[in-house]
Protein backbone atom coordinates (compact mmCIF):
# COMPACT_ATOMS: atom_id res chain seq x y z
CA UNK A 1 0.00 0.00 0.00
CA UNK A 2 1.28 3.49 -0.77
CA UNK A 3 2.17 5.92 2.01
CA UNK A 4 -0.86 8.03 1.07
CA UNK A 5 -3.16 5.01 1.13
CA UNK A 6 -1.83 3.88 4.50
CA UNK A 7 -2.08 7.45 5.81
CA UNK A 8 -5.69 7.74 4.67
CA UNK A 9 -6.54 4.49 6.43
CA UNK A 10 -4.89 5.49 9.70
CA UNK A 11 -6.28 9.01 9.78
CA UNK A 12 -9.78 7.72 9.03
CA UNK A 13 -9.47 5.17 11.82
CA UNK A 14 -8.38 7.78 14.38
CA UNK A 15 -10.58 10.56 12.97
CA UNK A 16 -7.69 12.84 12.13
CA UNK A 17 -8.94 15.33 9.53
CA UNK A 18 -5.87 15.02 7.31
CA UNK A 19 -7.76 16.45 4.35
CA UNK A 20 -9.99 19.53 4.26
CA UNK A 21 -11.86 21.19 1.41
CA UNK A 22 -12.22 24.94 1.83
CA UNK A 23 -15.12 26.31 -0.17
CA UNK A 24 -13.97 29.94 -0.28
CA UNK A 25 -16.91 31.36 -2.21
CA UNK A 26 -19.98 30.41 -4.20
CA UNK A 27 -19.24 33.20 -6.68
CA UNK A 28 -18.44 31.85 -10.10
CA UNK A 29 -17.62 33.23 -13.52
CA UNK A 30 -19.09 30.21 -15.31
CA UNK A 31 -22.61 28.82 -15.41
CA UNK A 32 -22.15 25.07 -15.79
CA UNK A 33 -25.41 23.23 -16.36
CA UNK A 34 -24.25 20.37 -14.14
CA UNK A 35 -23.28 22.54 -11.16
CA UNK A 36 -24.66 21.50 -7.76
CA UNK A 37 -24.60 25.01 -6.27
CA UNK A 38 -27.99 26.65 -5.83
CA UNK A 39 -26.63 30.15 -6.41
CA UNK A 40 -23.46 31.66 -7.83
CA UNK A 41 -22.97 34.47 -5.38
CA UNK A 42 -22.46 34.80 -1.66
CA UNK A 43 -25.27 37.25 -0.96
CA UNK A 44 -28.66 36.51 0.49
CA UNK A 45 -27.34 34.06 3.07
CA UNK A 46 -27.88 36.34 6.06
CA UNK A 47 -24.15 36.80 6.66
CA UNK A 48 -21.01 37.66 4.78
CA UNK A 49 -18.51 35.01 3.70
CA UNK A 50 -15.43 34.43 5.83
CA UNK A 51 -12.74 37.08 5.49
CA UNK A 52 -8.99 36.58 5.63
CA UNK A 53 -8.59 36.90 9.41
CA UNK A 54 -11.34 34.35 9.98
CA UNK A 55 -9.80 31.90 7.53
CA UNK A 56 -6.40 32.48 9.12
CA UNK A 57 -7.67 31.45 12.54
CA UNK A 58 -9.43 28.40 11.11
CA UNK A 59 -6.31 27.37 9.20
CA UNK A 60 -4.22 27.61 12.34
CA UNK A 61 -6.74 25.39 14.13
CA UNK A 62 -6.75 22.86 11.28
CA UNK A 63 -2.97 22.75 11.41
CA UNK A 64 -3.08 21.86 15.11
CA UNK A 65 -5.52 19.03 14.42
CA UNK A 66 -3.25 17.37 11.86
CA UNK A 67 -4.76 18.61 8.61
CA UNK A 68 -2.12 18.39 5.88
CA UNK A 69 -3.97 18.42 2.55
CA UNK A 70 -6.11 21.46 1.73
CA UNK A 71 -8.18 21.86 -1.38
CA UNK A 72 -9.30 25.39 -2.26
CA UNK A 73 -12.59 25.28 -4.16
CA UNK A 74 -15.63 27.37 -5.04
CA UNK A 75 -17.71 28.40 -7.07
CA UNK A 76 -14.50 29.75 -8.47
CA UNK A 77 -12.08 29.96 -5.53
CA UNK A 78 -9.95 32.65 -7.16
CA UNK A 79 -12.89 35.06 -7.05
CA UNK A 80 -12.64 35.36 -3.27
CA UNK A 81 -11.38 38.94 -2.72
CA UNK A 82 -8.69 37.67 -0.32
CA UNK A 83 -7.77 34.56 -2.30
CA UNK A 84 -4.05 35.31 -2.52
CA UNK A 85 -3.70 36.14 1.16
CA UNK A 86 -5.54 32.98 2.13
CA UNK A 87 -3.47 30.85 -0.26
CA UNK A 88 -0.23 32.35 1.01
CA UNK A 89 -1.17 31.67 4.62
CA UNK A 90 -1.98 28.07 3.72
CA UNK A 91 1.49 27.63 2.26
CA UNK A 92 3.14 29.45 5.17
CA UNK A 93 1.47 27.04 7.56
CA UNK A 94 2.97 24.10 5.66
CA UNK A 95 -0.22 22.71 4.19
CA UNK A 96 -0.07 20.78 0.90
CA UNK A 97 -2.37 23.09 -1.04
CA UNK A 98 -4.39 22.07 -4.05
CA UNK A 99 -6.49 24.46 -6.07
CA UNK A 100 -9.47 23.45 -8.17
CA UNK A 101 -10.29 26.11 -10.72
CA UNK A 102 -11.90 26.62 -14.10
CA UNK A 103 -8.71 28.45 -15.06
CA UNK A 104 -10.28 31.29 -17.01
CA UNK A 105 -8.72 33.88 -14.70
CA UNK A 106 -5.21 32.46 -15.18
CA UNK A 107 -3.08 34.51 -17.52
CA UNK A 108 0.74 34.75 -17.48
CA UNK A 109 0.78 37.08 -14.46
CA UNK A 110 -1.57 34.91 -12.43
CA UNK A 111 0.27 31.75 -13.47
CA UNK A 112 3.47 33.31 -12.17
CA UNK A 113 1.82 34.05 -8.82
CA UNK A 114 0.55 30.47 -8.64
CA UNK A 115 3.99 29.09 -9.43
CA UNK A 116 5.55 31.19 -6.65
CA UNK A 117 3.16 29.68 -4.12
CA UNK A 118 4.44 26.17 -4.77
CA UNK A 119 1.02 24.49 -4.77
CA UNK A 120 0.85 20.73 -4.43
CA UNK A 121 -1.56 20.56 -7.36
CA UNK A 122 -3.64 22.84 -9.55
CA UNK A 123 -6.58 21.05 -11.14
CA UNK A 124 -8.50 22.62 -13.97
CA UNK A 125 -11.96 21.67 -15.17
CA UNK A 126 -11.85 20.79 -18.84
CA UNK A 127 -14.72 18.98 -20.45
CA UNK A 128 -13.81 18.32 -24.06
CA UNK A 129 -11.30 18.90 -26.84
CA UNK A 130 -14.22 20.35 -28.79
CA UNK A 131 -14.51 24.03 -27.86
CA UNK A 132 -18.22 24.05 -28.68
CA UNK A 133 -18.94 21.22 -26.24
CA UNK A 134 -16.79 22.68 -23.46
CA UNK A 135 -18.28 26.18 -23.87
CA UNK A 136 -21.80 24.73 -23.92
CA UNK A 137 -21.16 22.92 -20.65
CA UNK A 138 -19.66 25.96 -18.93
CA UNK A 139 -22.18 28.41 -20.35
CA UNK A 140 -19.34 30.80 -21.24
CA UNK A 141 -18.31 31.37 -24.84
CA UNK A 142 -14.55 31.34 -25.16
CA UNK A 143 -13.98 29.48 -21.87
CA UNK A 144 -12.33 26.55 -23.64
CA UNK A 145 -9.61 28.76 -25.13
CA UNK A 146 -8.97 30.43 -21.81
CA UNK A 147 -8.74 27.16 -19.90
CA UNK A 148 -6.35 25.67 -22.46
CA UNK A 149 -4.24 28.84 -22.30
CA UNK A 150 -4.18 28.54 -18.50
CA UNK A 151 -2.97 24.95 -18.74
CA UNK A 152 -0.19 26.05 -21.07
CA UNK A 153 0.89 28.90 -18.77
CA UNK A 154 1.01 26.60 -15.76
CA UNK A 155 2.86 23.84 -17.62
CA UNK A 156 5.42 26.39 -18.78
CA UNK A 157 6.15 27.15 -15.15
CA UNK A 158 6.22 23.46 -14.17
CA UNK A 159 3.25 23.82 -11.83
CA UNK A 160 1.91 20.32 -11.02
CA UNK A 161 -1.39 20.26 -12.90
CA UNK A 162 -4.29 17.92 -13.37
CA UNK A 163 -7.62 17.90 -15.18
CA UNK A 164 -11.04 17.15 -13.75
CA UNK A 165 -13.60 16.14 -16.33
CA UNK A 166 -17.17 15.55 -15.25
CA UNK A 167 -18.86 13.33 -17.80
CA UNK A 168 -22.33 14.30 -19.00
CA UNK A 169 -24.45 13.40 -21.99
CA UNK A 170 -22.69 16.19 -23.90
CA UNK A 171 -19.06 15.16 -23.56
CA UNK A 172 -18.87 11.48 -22.58
CA UNK A 173 -18.81 10.17 -26.15
CA UNK A 174 -15.71 12.23 -26.97
CA UNK A 175 -13.92 11.99 -23.64
CA UNK A 176 -11.23 9.60 -24.82
CA UNK A 177 -9.86 12.24 -27.17
CA UNK A 178 -9.35 14.42 -24.13
CA UNK A 179 -7.77 11.48 -22.28
CA UNK A 180 -5.33 10.98 -25.14
CA UNK A 181 -4.52 14.67 -25.32
CA UNK A 182 -3.80 14.76 -21.59
CA UNK A 183 -1.68 11.61 -21.79
CA UNK A 184 0.46 13.12 -24.55
CA UNK A 185 1.19 16.05 -22.26
CA UNK A 186 1.73 13.92 -19.19
CA UNK A 187 -1.22 15.57 -17.43
CA UNK A 188 -3.15 13.47 -14.97
CA UNK A 189 -6.87 13.41 -15.81
CA UNK A 190 -9.74 12.26 -13.68
CA UNK A 191 -13.17 11.47 -15.06
CA UNK A 192 -16.31 11.33 -13.00
CA UNK A 193 -19.85 10.36 -13.87
CA UNK A 194 -21.30 11.70 -10.64
CA UNK A 195 -23.50 14.59 -11.64
CA UNK A 196 -25.58 15.33 -8.55
CA UNK A 197 -28.80 17.23 -8.07
CA UNK A 198 -28.52 20.78 -6.81
CA UNK A 199 -28.06 21.40 -3.13
CA UNK A 200 -31.52 22.97 -3.00
CA UNK A 201 -33.02 19.76 -4.39
CA UNK A 202 -33.52 21.00 -7.95
CA UNK A 203 -33.07 18.15 -10.42
CA UNK A 204 -31.86 20.16 -13.44
CA UNK A 205 -28.19 19.12 -13.16
CA UNK A 206 -29.23 15.45 -13.03
CA UNK A 207 -30.86 15.89 -16.45
CA UNK A 208 -27.31 16.38 -17.79
CA UNK A 209 -26.26 12.87 -16.78
CA UNK A 210 -25.01 10.47 -19.39
CA UNK A 211 -27.51 7.82 -20.46
CA UNK A 212 -27.14 4.16 -19.59
CA UNK A 213 -26.09 3.41 -23.17
CA UNK A 214 -23.43 6.09 -23.11
CA UNK A 215 -22.12 4.87 -19.76
CA UNK A 216 -21.98 1.31 -21.06
CA UNK A 217 -19.95 2.42 -24.08
CA UNK A 218 -17.68 4.45 -21.82
CA UNK A 219 -16.85 1.52 -19.56
CA UNK A 220 -16.53 -0.84 -22.51
CA UNK A 221 -13.97 1.50 -24.09
CA UNK A 222 -12.20 1.91 -20.76
CA UNK A 223 -11.93 -1.85 -20.50
CA UNK A 224 -10.35 -2.10 -23.95
CA UNK A 225 -7.91 0.71 -23.25
CA UNK A 226 -6.97 0.24 -19.61
CA UNK A 227 -8.35 -3.11 -18.59
CA UNK A 228 -9.09 -1.65 -15.17
CA UNK A 229 -12.73 -2.42 -14.58
CA UNK A 230 -12.94 -4.02 -11.17
CA UNK A 231 -15.14 -4.06 -8.07
CA UNK A 232 -15.34 -0.75 -6.25
CA UNK A 233 -12.16 -0.05 -4.32
CA UNK A 234 -12.95 2.82 -2.06
CA UNK A 235 -10.53 4.60 0.22
CA UNK A 236 -11.29 3.45 3.72
CA UNK A 237 -14.20 1.04 3.58
CA UNK A 238 -14.16 -2.62 2.88
CA UNK A 239 -17.51 -3.57 1.38
CA UNK A 240 -17.30 -7.09 2.77
CA UNK A 241 -16.82 -5.92 6.38
CA UNK A 242 -20.12 -4.80 7.97
CA UNK A 243 -18.28 -2.66 10.53
CA UNK A 244 -16.22 -0.77 7.96
CA UNK A 245 -17.18 2.86 7.36
CA UNK A 246 -19.10 3.59 4.19
CA UNK A 247 -16.85 6.52 3.34
CA UNK A 248 -14.23 8.85 4.75
CA UNK A 249 -16.52 11.82 5.44
CA UNK A 250 -16.09 13.14 8.94
CA UNK A 251 -13.27 10.71 9.57
CA UNK A 252 -10.18 11.55 7.56
CA UNK A 253 -11.69 14.56 5.82
CA UNK A 254 -13.95 17.50 6.31
CA UNK A 255 -15.10 20.62 4.50
CA UNK A 256 -15.84 24.24 5.39
CA UNK A 257 -18.31 26.36 3.42
CA UNK A 258 -17.86 30.09 2.68
CA UNK A 259 -19.82 31.07 5.82
CA UNK A 260 -17.81 29.03 8.29
CA UNK A 261 -20.07 26.00 8.54
CA UNK A 262 -18.13 22.81 9.23
CA UNK A 263 -19.28 19.84 7.12
CA UNK A 264 -18.30 16.18 7.14
CA UNK A 265 -17.52 16.49 3.45
CA UNK A 266 -18.19 18.98 0.67
CA UNK A 267 -21.22 17.02 -0.56
CA UNK A 268 -22.81 16.33 2.82
CA UNK A 269 -24.42 19.65 3.78
CA UNK A 270 -25.53 18.75 7.30
CA UNK A 271 -23.88 21.49 9.33
CA UNK A 272 -21.82 20.24 12.24
CA UNK A 273 -21.62 23.80 13.56
CA UNK A 274 -20.24 27.22 12.72
CA UNK A 275 -16.56 28.02 13.10
CA UNK A 276 -17.32 31.67 13.74
CA UNK A 277 -18.88 30.60 17.03
CA UNK A 278 -16.87 27.58 18.11
CA UNK A 279 -13.39 26.18 17.53
CA UNK A 280 -12.65 23.47 15.03
CA UNK A 281 -11.57 21.07 17.76
CA UNK A 282 -14.78 21.57 19.69
CA UNK A 283 -16.95 21.00 16.63
CA UNK A 284 -14.90 18.07 15.28
CA UNK A 285 -15.36 16.24 18.59
CA UNK A 286 -19.02 17.16 19.01
CA UNK A 287 -21.82 14.56 19.10
CA UNK A 288 -23.08 15.85 15.73
CA UNK A 289 -19.71 15.29 14.08
CA UNK A 290 -19.39 11.82 15.59
CA UNK A 291 -22.85 10.94 14.34
CA UNK A 292 -22.07 12.08 10.78
CA UNK A 293 -18.87 10.04 10.73
CA UNK A 294 -20.46 6.87 11.96
CA UNK A 295 -22.05 5.35 8.85
CA UNK A 296 -20.95 1.76 8.44
CA UNK A 297 -21.68 -0.90 5.86
CA UNK A 298 -24.04 -2.64 8.28
CA UNK A 299 -26.35 0.43 8.06
CA UNK A 300 -26.64 0.33 4.27
CA UNK A 301 -30.13 -0.40 3.00
CA UNK A 302 -28.82 -2.55 0.21
CA UNK A 303 -26.38 -5.42 0.27
CA UNK A 304 -22.83 -4.20 -0.53
CA UNK A 305 -21.82 -7.80 -1.13
CA UNK A 306 -24.47 -8.44 -3.77
CA UNK A 307 -23.46 -8.76 -7.42
CA UNK A 308 -24.10 -5.09 -8.15
CA UNK A 309 -23.42 -3.92 -4.61
CA UNK A 310 -19.76 -4.96 -4.93
CA UNK A 311 -19.38 -2.45 -7.76
CA UNK A 312 -21.17 0.43 -6.03
CA UNK A 313 -19.29 3.31 -4.44
CA UNK A 314 -22.08 4.50 -2.21
CA UNK A 315 -22.25 8.18 -1.32
CA UNK A 316 -24.37 9.01 1.75
CA UNK A 317 -24.49 12.66 0.70
CA UNK A 318 -25.85 11.85 -2.73
CA UNK A 319 -28.35 9.43 -1.20
CA UNK A 320 -29.56 12.08 1.22
CA UNK A 321 -30.04 14.60 -1.60
CA UNK A 322 -31.74 12.27 -4.05
CA UNK A 323 -33.73 9.81 -1.96
CA UNK A 324 -33.81 11.49 1.44
CA UNK A 325 -31.95 8.71 3.22
CA UNK A 326 -28.18 8.55 3.54
CA UNK A 327 -28.11 4.76 3.63
CA UNK A 328 -30.59 4.03 0.87
CA UNK A 329 -29.39 3.00 -2.60
CA UNK A 330 -29.10 5.79 -5.15
CA UNK A 331 -30.69 4.61 -8.42
CA UNK A 332 -28.05 6.34 -10.55
CA UNK A 333 -25.17 4.85 -8.58
CA UNK A 334 -26.73 1.39 -8.73
CA UNK A 335 -27.18 1.79 -12.49
CA UNK A 336 -23.49 2.61 -12.85
CA UNK A 337 -22.60 -0.34 -10.61
CA UNK A 338 -24.69 -2.69 -12.71
CA UNK A 339 -23.00 -1.54 -15.90
CA UNK A 340 -19.54 -1.87 -14.38
CA UNK A 341 -20.37 -5.38 -13.19
CA UNK A 342 -21.54 -6.44 -16.64
CA UNK A 343 -18.40 -5.08 -18.25
CA UNK A 344 -16.24 -6.72 -15.58
CA UNK A 345 -17.96 -10.07 -16.10
CA UNK A 346 -17.40 -9.82 -19.85
CA UNK A 347 -13.71 -9.16 -19.17
CA UNK A 348 -13.26 -12.03 -16.79
CA UNK A 349 -15.03 -14.56 -18.99
CA UNK A 350 -13.23 -13.58 -22.20
Amino acid sequence: MSIIGDLQGRTAKHRIPVQASLELTHSCNQRCGHCYLASHNDSGKGCSPLGFEEWRRILDELSEEGTLFLTLIGGEAMLHPKFWQIARHCVTRNFAVSLITNGILIDDVVAERIAELNFFQVTLSLYSMDPAIHDKMTGVKGSYARTIAALDQLRLRKVPIGINCLLTKHNIDSCFELKQWAKQRDIRIQFSLLVTTRLDGAVEPALERASAEQIYRYFATLRKLDNQIRPAAVVAPNPTDPDSPVCNAGRGRCAIDPFGNLLACIDMRDQIGNLRERSFRELWNSPKALCLSGFINHDLKFNPRSKDGMFCSHCPAMADLEVGDKMAPVPFLMEIASIRRRIYECKTTN
Partner: protein, 89 residues
Protein backbone atom coordinates in the same frame (compact mmCIF):
# COMPACT_ATOMS: atom_id res chain seq x y z
CA UNK B 1 26.49 22.25 10.60
CA UNK B 2 22.96 23.15 11.71
CA UNK B 3 20.28 21.35 9.74
CA UNK B 4 17.13 23.29 8.87
CA UNK B 5 13.95 22.14 7.17
CA UNK B 6 13.52 23.49 3.64
CA UNK B 7 11.10 26.39 3.95
CA UNK B 8 7.39 25.96 3.30
CA UNK B 9 7.56 22.25 2.59
CA UNK B 10 4.17 20.81 3.43
CA UNK B 11 4.46 18.58 6.45
CA UNK B 12 2.56 17.57 9.54
CA UNK B 13 3.09 15.33 12.53
CA UNK B 14 0.29 12.79 12.24
CA UNK B 15 -0.10 10.02 14.77
CA UNK B 16 3.47 10.83 16.00
CA UNK B 17 4.98 10.39 12.54
CA UNK B 18 6.12 13.28 10.38
CA UNK B 19 4.60 13.16 6.92
CA UNK B 20 6.45 15.38 4.46
CA UNK B 21 5.41 16.24 0.94
CA UNK B 22 8.08 17.21 -1.56
CA UNK B 23 5.84 19.27 -3.83
CA UNK B 24 8.30 19.64 -6.70
CA UNK B 25 9.09 15.95 -6.91
CA UNK B 26 5.64 14.78 -5.84
CA UNK B 27 7.19 12.46 -3.23
CA UNK B 28 5.69 11.68 0.15
CA UNK B 29 8.03 10.84 3.01
CA UNK B 30 6.98 9.38 6.34
CA UNK B 31 9.45 9.33 9.21
CA UNK B 32 9.60 6.96 12.15
CA UNK B 33 9.58 8.19 15.75
CA UNK B 34 13.27 9.08 15.97
CA UNK B 35 13.23 10.61 12.51
CA UNK B 36 10.22 12.68 13.48
CA UNK B 37 12.01 13.86 16.61
CA UNK B 38 15.03 14.97 14.60
CA UNK B 39 12.88 16.56 11.88
CA UNK B 40 10.85 18.64 14.33
CA UNK B 41 14.07 19.89 15.94
CA UNK B 42 15.74 20.75 12.62
CA UNK B 43 15.06 24.47 12.90
CA UNK B 44 18.61 25.65 12.26
CA UNK B 45 19.39 26.28 15.92
CA UNK B 46 20.91 22.90 16.82
CA UNK B 47 24.13 21.43 15.56
CA UNK B 48 24.39 17.78 14.54
CA UNK B 49 26.26 17.08 17.77
CA UNK B 50 23.57 18.71 19.84
CA UNK B 51 20.88 16.74 18.03
CA UNK B 52 22.75 13.52 18.70
CA UNK B 53 22.83 14.44 22.39
CA UNK B 54 19.11 15.18 22.38
CA UNK B 55 18.46 11.84 20.72
CA UNK B 56 20.33 10.06 23.53
CA UNK B 57 18.29 11.90 26.15
CA UNK B 58 14.97 10.98 24.60
CA UNK B 59 15.58 7.52 23.18
CA UNK B 60 17.47 4.46 24.28
CA UNK B 61 20.59 4.93 22.19
CA UNK B 62 24.23 5.56 23.04
CA UNK B 63 26.06 8.64 21.80
CA UNK B 64 28.20 6.89 19.19
CA UNK B 65 25.17 5.28 17.57
CA UNK B 66 23.16 8.50 17.86
CA UNK B 67 25.92 10.49 16.16
CA UNK B 68 26.09 8.00 13.32
CA UNK B 69 22.28 7.90 12.96
CA UNK B 70 21.99 11.70 12.97
CA UNK B 71 24.66 12.07 10.29
CA UNK B 72 23.06 9.44 8.08
CA UNK B 73 19.57 10.77 8.61
CA UNK B 74 20.32 14.34 7.68
CA UNK B 75 22.58 13.36 4.78
CA UNK B 76 19.71 11.33 3.37
CA UNK B 77 17.20 14.14 3.82
CA UNK B 78 19.61 16.65 2.31
CA UNK B 79 19.99 14.40 -0.71
CA UNK B 80 16.19 14.27 -1.01
CA UNK B 81 16.00 18.06 -0.92
CA UNK B 82 14.15 18.24 2.40
CA UNK B 83 16.91 19.66 4.58
CA UNK B 84 19.49 22.39 4.24
CA UNK B 85 22.68 22.07 6.22
CA UNK B 86 23.44 25.55 7.34
CA UNK B 87 26.98 26.35 8.39
CA UNK B 88 26.71 28.80 11.28
CA UNK B 89 30.46 29.35 11.52
Amino acid sequence: MHPIRVGQLPWREIDRHAVIIHTKKGNVHELNLTGTFLWTHADGSHSLAQLAGMLCENFEVDLDQATKDVDEFFSSLEEDGLILNVNHR
